[in-house]
Symmetry: D2
Subunit: 442 residues, 4 copies
């Protein structure tokens, strides 16, 4: 006769607790598609949390083919109701107006959107749904039709992970270990070698790290940025990460360098936080340290080497000499032992190429080629400086011949910069960068 | 040259901080409709938080006619793009399929949905949007067209305030005063007379109070429930609220009585939490106090007196005698000095009428008449007991001739109960209640 | 066989849980003096927490005569061991040195000090011990011998409540209600009329309240100070507390006014925190609001009226005229309807008297008379201003003819001021105050 | 004119902030002994926090000889006032009584006790004082007179770190990294190999770790215990720490095994917490997991091998055969390749020796030899089982020939066990252990 048959200690038992043991066992034996239909039906109103828990538990037990079948089911059986849609179109045709449009909008909404909203009723549901989308990406590789399913995930996640719901938290050496291990795991730009390396990036007084969290994913950073406080805009990642550098008292810093930004949740791909993160962190740092007046990145240029390869093959109007072309084709490994003059020439040449890559080169569709550049320029940053030799790691050499760049965030110019970029694909750059452009061959 | 021109201490200054003083002043002078358009445009991508803040600040400065105009603007200028919608319909007609439906769905979405999502970027935006909907209700009274605007608010709030994002918190005498004052203010069933009365409801060991909160509205309970722990199902609110009763050690309680449930946010009207709240609280209490085995409400019946009035005028097949009719028409004030026999007769009669009201009487559309009954029956509760004389306050006498009822939540029956109610409008009731039904006149 | 026989939910059952049911019951039947001896013996090492709990529970059940007997027992039976002491003196006489002094110090320590330390092992023990000292004060009224017992309490509390262990917390309208009710209860200077009045002192942006807490007494403030942020040093408590005043944006304040300081724990009488509280709050406010440059009190002068009464009777070398003496003897109630010239004369006269009271009048032992003055001057503050008509409440008129004063805390002068006061009983005062002194009659 | 001349961001600048720049600089140039005298004088009352900070800062800058000199100064110049002491003795002789004893106690207190209390006024002072005692231990090695100084530290720390002020916290994989690194560093029994090893000890559902913290040393555990939840009393540390074992659902555990207890603060040596820690953790675990009914340790026996070496040399009345003596003298490294029969004989012999070591062998003063045994027996535990081969690590073999033991905490017997041990040095042991004793040679 009891309402809740037992002491609940196990999250896995929640479903059981919420609807009683027998129903729970019955539920476990129902196929997942029936459970989904139940959840969308009236039963879902009476015992939504339990049903949602049941679906998610069942989903977690599925193997890879089972999950593919699940997504296919979402795509085929939980789309919009076609009859209803046709009726709505008819009604709109007869009487176009706010009411009929609204009905049309509702009728064209796939049923899976409501299903996903109801799945989120389960304790910890949001987290499972994010992982579900990760699995969906994998399934999409062999089944492009699933993109319509993903569109619904993205729509909902866009709403749920609205910046207004995110919380900015500083990550430091006092943060919980289970969060820190994720920082180690997800750092995507300059790999963290382990706990000692992590500590070097978090503990010194001139280092900061911030992440966005969502209240429902408490131990899971969504995105984080690593910051170095300095007295000048740095030219290389080596000087930033050096374990030997002298620690600068934070109050004496003038410059905040965003040297690494990493997304943590593959399942939130396409939901953009980076823009907000940089600006919010800049604001918070400025409040803590009024002496800061410069906010820049130290960024990789991941598309440069590949573009340059193409250029060397077909230099077009850049009019490269043969000597220059063979210099640019030189394997990365060989450049270590260059004599000073050759190196200086090579450096100058690389700088010119980078300036061209950034300011002039475009995709066939007319867009800036580099993805990192597109991100920062789209945020309204300007290209501040080109640093030849900025990253001499194997990856840095391979991706960009070791060149890095700084983007600068200056609030007064953000909108103008953004507009120039967004409407005309114009890259706003410092005069120093512009001067590096090689005079056009005439 | 500075990124953020100053130390920020004032939320009202945030917009200024985020885009610089001059732009901030310029923004303040732009009309609110231009700001909304900016926010939806590319500019919104570059400086969304600042623009959103600007719109919300401007909105808060509007007077009542200004707000009406604002809502009208949302309705007229931020609906769907008609041309695009017609093209989408055309495309769908030509090639019905997931892709064209999806495009149709997007095209039929009013632009204000995205606008509201972007307004939520501002710090504290969610709170302002909830208050905005409150103002919208007022405006809707004179302009029913605004209901289409409200549909968009409700759609978004339904997603944002999904139960999966809510947090259950116990409210007690250690809770923050600014939360407690809201409990006093929002208690809608049995008014709280002040801080001492509040304390009597929170501090004793056999009292509990729980509320749902949303992470973005930290000081604002969304809905709360007051619970009494007892050894029997109570028959009257007087025995529950009595200041003289002996406090029961919580570990000895067998029964949890939900004696008051109040919504706090008018702006979230129609977004249902009560169902989840009761079940979650029951689960949490059961975990804390394994001795609990009965979960009931002590509920008002707000529609009873009005219905009874109609009945007395036209008793239909209930075949009331003239004596009964005049007894039921007796003004509440007069019943105090009845002799015992008359009172007993009257009580029995009231009980019969209440059983009829609950089990048999229906609206013209065939639905249960009482709104509180609809809520609990829709949640799967059953009608457990009718308590004549349960609430002798002026309001209790006026609304329901002093009768209260208990609804019982028994997990094993919730789905069956819900189904009986949802599909056939059948009210599941205890045999004691069913026996109170007056035999049909033949 | 079980280690801990049951689920523990009740603090009162702790003793039982910690030593098993039978021993617990046996313990309950032992007289409290035996329990105390047990606690000091070897048994105390094995089951100290349980025994300590047992003693404290037994103590809480004692009635007033029982508690007096308990304190008498502490005094008589738990003093130092006389034989051991005599041996220690002998040893010291024979061989004076660090070792024998140390032994002498230990031998002269009353056994109750260790007893009190062991009582503190019980969960919540610190709180009970503070209340125990409150009861001791009452018992001391009829038994002055208990002062030696109190000396041990004070010694231990001085160590336990060392400022280094205290935590400063801001109290505001978001603080827990059970803390706020203590603020209402303990406010000793300007009574708080209820929750609305409290709110007026906490919520406006130009009000602050801070308290010291001890980690073991989480819901119990030890001492608190109320602060008003203003643009000038206030002349009356009325302007500070006025509900009609316009709220000043905190960032525009130049002056922090400490207008009320109240101790909360009678059981900590004589353990001084006020000095640290003022300086710490000043430091924290300065950090939050760099615009603050003046830190003053607005203080009562509780000894003034009584002193003045004596003076009027025997003016000594102040050479008061008869007219002045009758003016000063005028009952407070009569002064309301004075004409302007009389009032001005009276105000000037009161100011002269106050300046004399502060700067010249001394107790027979040569000390400053006013207790509040001794506190602030001892902290190194200086007397900044005399405000005739500063407090026209019944109490203000009765205690000090309505006069209040400001003490100023200026860091650069604190040590000098303190030294002047501590070594020579000199009161450092502003020139404005000094000028108010009536020229000595020659 | 400013009270606090600047924004305070640096703890090191606190002294400066608290007394103004010039005084701060002056203070820095005063010798540390003068600062100590100031702190004890009236100046200490006016600006105690600043002076205390000044002393502690100066102390931290001292090199090793400087610190030795500092301690010598405490010993020589801050002892009791001899004249006053002699007067107090005289007064006591003339009139022995509570008052004169009390005065004698005060007069015999070294002045450094009050000095240490005042040093604790500084922010973070407690932490520095704990480290100061660490340094004192080092200095004591060459200067035994400093033991009287240490007596004062110990007296104060005993009062400040009273169990009533400690907080028990669970340590898990969500704990802050700066706390966890201390767990790695301080684990003194079974070394933790790094973060992965730590994680294996914290994260699985059948592992627990608890530590005592003091509110003033928030990031510094004082002592911690590692616990394994099992279904039987384990025989070897290998089975406890094995990375391959299957994780046991906590709710199914019957036995809590305390397999490692480590003190973290050398500066708190002699202040005992371990007794309280074990009992409190047992209580908390029992509450969380009612299925637990056995609480045991798995403990090293660090004194066994050394004792056995002596025994082999001079077996006394144990009447070892020559064969047995050479077996017991066999180097640890050689035992790996023993045949089964030899091993069985050896194991039995080792068990007999261990039983003898625990139950019969005593120091010349009649005490149990093993320090770990003394700790647990003094807490009232009984010796439950001897595990030959319990720890085959190099250290385990070296210290105890690989033998470990279990001590059992059974609440009902704790006091009796303790009493037997404390008054008669009797070791309470299970019959299984007693049976292992070799019959006495007759």
């Amino acid at each position: 006769m009891a309402f809740l048959g037992e002491l609940l200690t196990n999250v896995a038992d929640r479903g059981r607790a919420l609807i009683g043991f027998e129903r729970f066992m019955a539920q476990r034996n129902r196929p997942i598609d029936r459970l989904c239909e139940d959840l969308l039906s009236g039963r879902g109103e009476a015992s939504g949390m339990a049903l949602a828990q049941g679906v998610l538990d069942a989903w977690e037990r599925l193997d890879k083919p089972g999950r593919r079948a699940f997504f296919a089911m979402l795509q085929e059986r939980f789309g919009p109701d076609h009859e209803r849609l046709d009726r709505a179109i008819e009604a709109y045709r007869k009487a176009p107006g706010a009411g009929t449009i609204s009905a049309l909008h509702v009728a064209s909404e796939p049923r899976r959107q409501e299903l996903l909203r109801r799945l989120n009723l389960a304790p910890g549901g949001t987290h499972v749904l994010v992982r579900m989308r990760e699995a969906l990406f994998e399934a999409m590789e062999s089944d492009r039709d699933l993109m319509t399913v993903d569109a619904d995930f993205r729509h909902l996640f866009g709403s749920w992970f609205n910046r207004g719901f995110l919380v900015l938290r500083r990550i430091d050496w006092r943060s919980p270990a289970n969060v820190l291990e994720k920082i180690i795991r997800y750092e995507a730009v300059h790999e963290i070698q382990g706990w000692d390396d992590l500590r070097r990036r978090l503990e010194p007084g001139d280092r900061r790290c911030f992440a966005f969290f969502h209240p429902q994913l408490t131990d899971e950073p969504l995105i984080f940025v690593e910051v170095a406080l300095t007295r000048a805009i740095p030219r290389s990642i080596g000087e930033v990460l050096s374990g030997e550098r002298e620690v600068l008292p934070a109050a004496e810093a003038t410059t905040a360098v965003f040297y690494s930004i990493s997304n943590c949740q593959e399942g939130l791909r396409g939901i953009s936080f980076g823009n907000f993160l940089i600006k919010q962190v800049a604001e918070d740092l400025k409040r803590e340290l009024p002496g800061l007046d410069t906010f820049v990145t130290l960024s990789p240029v991941p598309g440069f080497a590949r573009w340059l390869e193409g250029l060397v093959a077909a230099p077009g109007d850049l009019a490269l000499t043969n000597e220059e072309r063979s210099e640019l084709a030189r394997p990365a490994g060989e450049t270590i032992s260059l004599d000073e003059a050759t190196r200086a020439r090579r450096d100058k040449l690389l700088g010119q190429m980078m300036a061209h890559y950034m300011l002039r080169a475009r995709t066939p569709a007319g867009r800036v080629i580099d993805p990192v550049a597109r991100f920062h320029l789209g945020n309204g940053a300007r290209l501040e400086r080109i640093n030849v030799g900025g990253n001499l790691s194997a990856r840095g050499l391979r991706e960009s011949h070791g060149v890095m760049v700084n983007y600068r965030y200056d609030l007064n110019d953000i909108e103008t910069n953004h507009e120039a970029y967004a409407t005309r694909d114009t890259v706003v750059a410092s005069s120093a960068v512009r001067k590096m452009l090689r005079p056009a061959a005439s």
